[in-house]
């Protein structure tokens, strides 16, 4: 009976990425590249009004048409990539840094520290993310540092949970006991014993959290509460061109398409990673 249950799991354990995963990785790599070089290869200035036609069709020189003021859509998307990916990545990184460190600390200390931290983050996690974002933005106004800090704080409890759960498993293993018996300190235990053994799943977790951050940020921008003009990320691009929706203008469709490809790409990579990378355990 045990052998019968093990069988399907081993079939999933392939080291190479399936085709869907490669496609996803390709899409993600493309957008990350665009975030880095986007502003340098943009054909027109982002603020320049170059088309007399509003919501112009695509033609030579304006590959994706023009937006509601007659600006080049392609250039605006290329420059917006940096805001969409940059802010989300910075926020996710901060969230993982805070949540991850505290999570491992809680797992290793196994005591009152763990209790207090876990209870505290359990409380934080039960506040809907959009609500906390709206309250902070109502109070502080919207700017890039505020957005990064808010999203980082919002996703810290989730990161804490995953990192703690993973570390608790590793912490119960014999080699950690041995290190503890050797008299190693908490910092050493975290750095040398726990971290290397949970690296795969936590990288997957980083990807998922990054997707959430992109979705939250673009929704905020879409509501007009995210990145403020004259700068624009993909969410703001959809918002400012929403009047072109009735004509099915490319200025609305293309930024939406950019968000969808990026998030679906990341999901494709994560879903097709080998089982030992999975942050939710084998499924």
């Amino acid at each position: 009976m045990i052998a019968a249950q093990k069988a399907p799991a081993s079939a999933r354990r392939r080291l190479r990425l399936p085709l869907a995963g490669i496609i996803g990785a390709g899409i993600v790599a493309f957008w990350v590249l665009m975030a880095i070089i986007g502003p340098y290869i943009a054909p027109h200035d982002v603020g320049a009004l170059i088309d007399n036609d509003l919501f112009g069709r695509m033609r030579w020189g304006l590959p994706l048409g023009s937006d509601y003021l007659g600006r080049d859509v392609l250039s605006r998307i290329l420059v917006g990539t940096r805001y969409s990916i940059g802010v989300a990545a910075a926020a996710t990184f901060l969230a993982i840094l805070m949540g991850g460190t505290l999570g491992m600390l809680a797992a290793v200390s196994r005591s009152a520290v763990d209790m207090v931290l876990s209870r505290f983050f359990d409380m934080l996690i039960s506040i809907p993310s959009k609500m906390s974002a709206l309250v902070v933005i109502a109070a502080l106004g919207s700017s890039i540092p505020v957005l990064i800090a808010t999203v980082a704080v919002i996703y810290t409890p989730g990161a804490f949970r995953i990192w703690r759960a993973l570390s608790v498993n590793v912490n119960a293993l014999d080699f950690v006991e041995v290190a503890r018996a050797r008299g190693e300190g908490t910092a050493y235990l975290i750095r040398e014993e726990i971290l290397p053994n949970i690296l795969g799943p936590v990288l997957t977790d980083f990807g998922l959290r990054f997707v959430f951050a992109i979705l939250l940020l673009s929704s905020l921008s879409f509501l007009g509460l995210g990145i403020q003009p004259p700068n624009a990320d993909w969410g703001s691009l959809v918002r400012e061109n929403i009047n072109g929706l009735a004509d099915g203008a490319l200025a609305v469709v293309m930024p939406s398409f950019a968000i969808a490809t990026l998030t679906i790409g990341i999901n494709l990579v994560i879903d097709n990673l080998p089982g030992r990378w999975s942050s939710t355990g084998e499924r």
């Binding site: 409380m123 506040i127 809907p128 609500m131 902070v136 509460l225 959809v238 009735a246 609305v252 990341i266």
Partner: protein, 304 residues
């Protein structure tokens, strides 16, 4: 635990008001206000008390149904919310009624035929939907149904329902958008819950007895998966609370979330505070409901 969280939320929301730069009284009266007028208003708004006393005054106010007045138009916050809350509840309940049966059917059937083409197509589709922001789905829905097919209006006003037909027209697109995401979320969780139950030893026993896959899932696994499924339904419904924010804006639906977003743009803190408290209470209520459903459906937990 839930009460503690709600208390924490209220403190956080109140602290949010406190860090606002500037003085509310001066902001309301404008630049030409005399110092006496400012002092008078400060007294009327209890601004001359220390923060912790004002916090309790505000908390008592919220619970006794008096959430203060809006800074933007001086209407009582309670009145503003009372005019919007029924609309939001309506939208949420119609969405729930539409999506729960569809999601459960899809989730259970893809668990029955797991690994099949249907299952893989469904899981790719739901993954894509979950990975897309709501405004994207709303935008696509408008392009397809309102612009190209001209079936439904792109805006939804919900001002007095005259006929069934009109009612359907107004709700079609917002409900469609919300349902897409809700069905995707709920279906994934339902499928996971059923498949999780399918790993139990008694399922193995039923397989050895020769039960067919459909019978296996429906009569053997499903009764034991009801707890996790009910849990999944309640958790997905709590998504509706945040999800309506974007949908109400896109379709111009006069609901609570739209009031909240407008208040955030105007920095109308009494309205923001009251709306957030309502949404968070509803959210916590659903989470508790999910826990209760989990306990009720598991006899081992029930009699403990």
């Amino acid at each position: 635990m839930a009460m503690l969280t709600l208390g924490f939320v209220s403190m956080a929301v109140f602290a949010g008001t406190e860090i606002l730069p500037g003085d509310v009284a001066e902001a309301v009266l404008g630049q030409n206000a005399t110092p006496e007028a400012v002092a008078g208003l400060r007294h009327a708004l209890h601004l001359d008390y220390p923060a912790h006393i004002r916090y309790f005054l505000w908390l008592i106010g919220i619970f006794s149904g008096d959430a203060g007045r809006s800074l933007a138009n001086n209407l009582p916050v309670t009145e503003l919310i009372a005019s919007r809350l029924p609309n939001s509840l309506m939208l949420a309940s119609v969405t729930a009624v539409v999506s729960v049966p569809i999601a459960l059917t899809l989730g259970i059937s893809s668990a029955i035929w797991r690994g099949s083409f249907f299952d893989r197509a469904a899981s790719f589709l739901t993954m894509s939907v979950v990975a897309m922001p709501e405004f994207l789905i709303a935008t696509l829905a408008v392009i397809i149904f309102a612009v190209n097919l001209r079936w439904f209006p792109a805006l939804s006003y919900a001002a007095g329902m005259v006929s069934i037909n009109q009612f359907f027209n107004q709700f079609a697109l917002p409900v469609f958008t919300l349902s897409c995401v809700l069905i995707a979320l709920m279906m994934r969780m339902t499928r996971a819950a059923v498949i999780d139950t399918l790993r139990s030893p008694y399922i193995e026993m039923a397989v050895l007895k020769g039960a067919r896959p459909i019978r296996l899932v429906l009569t053997h696994a499903l009764p034991n998966a009801i707890g996790p499924i009910a849990n999944a339904v309640a958790l997905s419904l709590s998504y509706l609370l945040g999800g309506t924010v974007v949908v109400e804006i896109v379709f111009g639906y006069p609901g609570l979330a739209r009031l909240l977003v407008d208040a955030v743009s105007n920095r109308d803190m009494p309205v923001v505070q009251a709306c957030v408290m309502i949404v968070c209470s509803a959210y916590l209520f659903l989470v508790i409901l999910a826990d209760i459903a989990g306990v009720l459906s598991n006899p081992r937990l029930r009699y403990r």
